[in-house]
Symmetry: C2
Subunit: 342 residues, 2 copies
Amino acid sequence: MKNTPVTIKDIARALNISISTVSRALRGMPEIHPDTRKAVTQLAEELDYQPNQLAKNLAKSRTRTIGVIVPNLSYYYFSAMLNSIEEAALQSGYSVLVCQTNESYLREITNIQNLLRSQVEGFIISLSRDTDNYEHVERLTRKNIPLVLFDRYAESINVSKVIVDNHAAAFKATEHLIENGCQRIGFLAGPAQLVLSNQRINGYRAALAKHGLSVGDQYVFNCDYTQENTIMQTLAMMSLQQPPDGVVIISDRMAYSAIYAMQQKGIRIPDDVAIVSFNNEPISAYFSPTLSSISQPIQEMGTETVRLLLREIEATDNTIPKETKVMETQLIVRGSSLRQRS
Amino acid sequence: MKNTPVTIKDIARALNISISTVSRALRGMPEIHPDTRKAVTQLAEELDYQPNQLAKNLAKSRTRTIGVIVPNLSYYYFSAMLNSIEEAALQSGYSVLVCQTNESYLREITNIQNLLRSQVEGFIISLSRDTDNYEHVERLTRKNIPLVLFDRYAESINVSKVIVDNHAAAFKATEHLIENGCQRIGFLAGPAQLVLSNQRINGYRAALAKHGLSVGDQYVFNCDYTQENTIMQTLAMMSLQQPPDGVVIISDRMAYSAIYAMQQKGIRIPDDVAIVSFNNEPISAYFSPTLSSISQPIQEMGTETVRLLLREIEATDNTIPKETKVMETQLIVRGSSLRQRS
DNA sequence: ACCGTTACCGCAAACGTTTGCGGTAACGGT
DNA sequence: ACCGTTACCGCAAACGTTTGCGGTAACGGT
């Protein structure tokens, strides 16, 4: 007894008019008599008519939909970016379809395929952790499907990007630790294939070099973003012959685990080890100790990402040059790195 | 110079066969000669043909898609539930469309409308914080569109539900605090219109009553889930003439802020105030102090929600009785509530 | 040699819209 | 009274698929 949804055919039949007239009346086209328009809208309202978006999109050969693919929405950064992207898209009359890769390369591929089949007009993607091959995204550009990467990007993919100045951010974070008296600073990084992570390592190294505090590679630990691995790497770092007195950590989430591991070993933060990390999750302000973190301009990144994408979607020719927007970050200083100057 | 996507028409023309044959060949129907099938699949592969899902769904009048609406994906619970739901749906050949309400009643209404227009075959909804009117969801059941509520539900809506035993969970949490020596226990609750919150309050009151430790209403504070308000309510609670020595908190996120506020005032956890909260977010295991929390069987809840929904979607008649599945919770004891017995 | 069966394929309608084009009736101007 | 214009509406094709039905050619059995 499933009742099929009401269509414009139903309305047309009930009112003894054609479906064209119903269609035009509902969309407020001018060539419809006010009386019939009123009759149509009234009946539509009464029947709670909902236009079939599939049919609409198919007939117009447009969906006004963009596909967003992110690693994981439980990270504050991606969840907030999604909200920002959705808002910006909505303002331009676009809706978004979201997918998570759960950091899996394979799911990234199937997500792209599914969204393609759903006829999205463009993609906004932040690459998964395990993605080390870019054939699947380059195929999109070969099909002339607009694509903008953000945050987790790759240099070699020739598309528009919205990123932060990772080098400068890590430089700033490291220098801040140095200013707070750290002499030997380690870095808890992400997976080695993440450009974002490597750029931050470079910024960190540059800051150390500038202050004559360079350290060996053994002070940089690669992590896979899981809590267990973070704890392992943290313990390994703190077991070095000369353990660091300051650590830059690639994400707040990892910092939470790292700090826990350190505190378990009786290491005091920030007295024994000062810490700065990235993302400035809301929880960081309430963690104990409160966590110093690099904040990214999420709102601005979202609107900029959408702007770059829509520019390509709505272009008539293909001559739009790719653009890479590099945003500035802000260091939020909190308890985990603030030492009384000695 | 946007190139339009390749269709079965293109393949048919190139191979000098009809689109019916292409369609059947691609779907592996038996009445196609192996040679033509091979030619079709090969060319489709070569052209990277992607079937237009809109057309497919329209032609079959089925989408095999379910709509999921949650308050906010940055909460671990909802993000994890989404993953669990997606996995279960995928296994039955369904895909999901996700929307966030950001706790707004109005966005909940527009989300439902948009998903309806996208022809989802059923809904899985966790109500927003601000939803105090259920007309928009009851309209779905009047249209005979399957709907399952989880977590944030309402008694009066006559649909299948997947929830946890909130009363028992709060009872368990409260009794645990009592066992750890708490004599005066407060409750930091959610908004007053949330049934989930009120049920937990009842469980808390029942536990207090059982142990002869009942307190007045002034020990129950309603909160709106924001960090600022949480801190305000926490400070208000701790400023009572007789401040509590134990607090049950409606969510881990709120607990983080509350603990911060307490620690700022020099209150020690768990010595001065012992704390238990709900949701068992991954971060809670690394918070300082580690946070005791009620864990919900997310995996099971997700599969159960999908099962109840698909049961209704795939039913031929409307006689399926609504079912309410109440799950058991587990108290994870950690540092925030563990006191040395005196 | 004939005929029934089978294998394989195409026609055309259908899903629910949009939209270009044409058609009729009423109107206003001379 | 006549005609050009305008207001309003319907026909039918189109979007890209699926699918019931029918049709032809080849085959195997007698």
